[in-house]
Symmetry: C2
Subunit: 304 residues, 2 copies
Amino acid sequence: MTMFLDVPVTGFTGNKLDRADELRRDPAAIIGLRGRSDARWLVLDKLNPVVRPGGVGGETPAILWAYRSDVPHDALTIFLGMDGDSPRFAAAAPADELVADFGGKVLDARAAGALLPAHEAAIVAQARSIIDWHQRHGFCAVCGGPTVLAKAGYARQCTACKAEHFPRVDPVVIMLAVRQDHALIGRQPRFPKGFLSALAGFVEPGESLEEAVRRELWEEAGITCGRVQYLASQPWPFPSSLMIAAFAESETFEVRLDQDELEEVRWVTKDEVRAALAGSGDFLAPPPMAIAHTLLKAWIESGD
Amino acid sequence: MTMFLDVPVTGFTGNKLDRADELRRDPAAIIGLRGRSDARWLVLDKLNPVVRPGGVGGETPAILWAYRSDVPHDALTIFLGMDGDSPRFAAAAPADELVADFGGKVLDARAAGALLPAHEAAIVAQARSIIDWHQRHGFCAVCGGPTVLAKAGYARQCTACKAEHFPRVDPVVIMLAVRQDHALIGRQPRFPKGFLSALAGFVEPGESLEEAVRRELWEEAGITCGRVQYLASQPWPFPSSLMIAAFAESETFEVRLDQDELEEVRWVTKDEVRAALAGSGDFLAPPPMAIAHTLLKAWIESGD
């Protein structure tokens, strides 16, 4: 067993904040942090981050870190963590004032994944997933009572039955079935024209990642697979997935399409993938921020 | 890159049912399957499976597959999948009748993980996680309205706002930090006396698995880690975790305990772990059904 292999770097990772979870349990400490002059807020307007746009001089966009006075005092707020000694929060609020007073711009969250520095895109992912969860969990699934934000944003508590609820993280497997010199990619009906990517699906209760990979490939493409090899993982804040990328050994080339899920599947060669990743292939490949890109790249670089 | 390594077999895996997800979308098909003479039910009484107990002749316990007539017609029921051509369901119901009429026994679900054949323990995991989720999600988190079971058990739908909700799968990282010839294990206050295991924690929104591993080791033991290596995964139906096991390269031996989470951490050698797994060590090791056991075993067998 070679114990440690290098795991490829994936989009939306590289968050440098210390999440400082011990502070979440301490409401007085959080109030203190909010009052600090070096505290800053990431504002999400309809789940999209407010940024300083990239300039004509070629500088890249960056999060517009707002002061407390620029954020409505009743905005839904979560604690992100500490940037060195400085507290960082995120709030859901309209961007109007930040746009007018500071030249801020609302950046689509997917575009943020591609355009912001990696460690800032990762902060956007953290903030977006948690705020979205709060906005869709105002009531208690156990009793139907109203819930309130708790633990600085990392829980909600029911005001009626006192049940605690925690943010969801939904594991998704995304995989390349491989056989001889070919890998299987496909297109969902919602994909842009010409776009093909790795197959994917949610992990279900009562299965391992490896079993989920085999089940999804069986359901969507009708192929049976043997061994499964983990490659890397990535948070995907639409709304709160954890993408887990793997290869699977297909036992066949023969496919049977689930036409509810996929419009087409195709066995491609490394040369075809190499061309597509370079932008000159006969299909559109996923962009670098998507772990499907990481999978395809790792495959063409592999010796197998 | 060696593309495929063998992944160790873990507890609660090996489910041989075809989950046949295409049938879930077809209520008429599910009604037809329920009426079939070869349909069978796994009954969970307070989330514990009803089994045929192991006999004096040494046979192992097995799921008591009940007939439809043995299950209350209004019991919460989910579709498990197909065993070859035969439909399999699970229902939440009192075990009294199955105990009285068929010699059934309610087996603690954790014990089921150790005592049932692997592929049956995996079915119990699937049924337990999904039924538990239904029982705690009678109301809509979006609007507070009542929800009803949908998609043969793989969703709930709000009767008021029509929002759809899906069963949770909560990813958990469980890991051994390793350094030179040592690995780090610890004990939570709730563990039995003398019991030590791998450190673990829930993955949070906006982080990769590798980042979650490093964050948890930092929070709980105060160690910084470099590379992280995935090993294997396991469903853990208490209530609905997906355990993801990994090794992490620790950069230090010096630890700082989070005393809310851990009572003790200890750097152990391979000889100490070998003895503990054999039942003759100076600590109690996790049992084979737990992926922490798989991690410890893989470590002592590794060349590193």
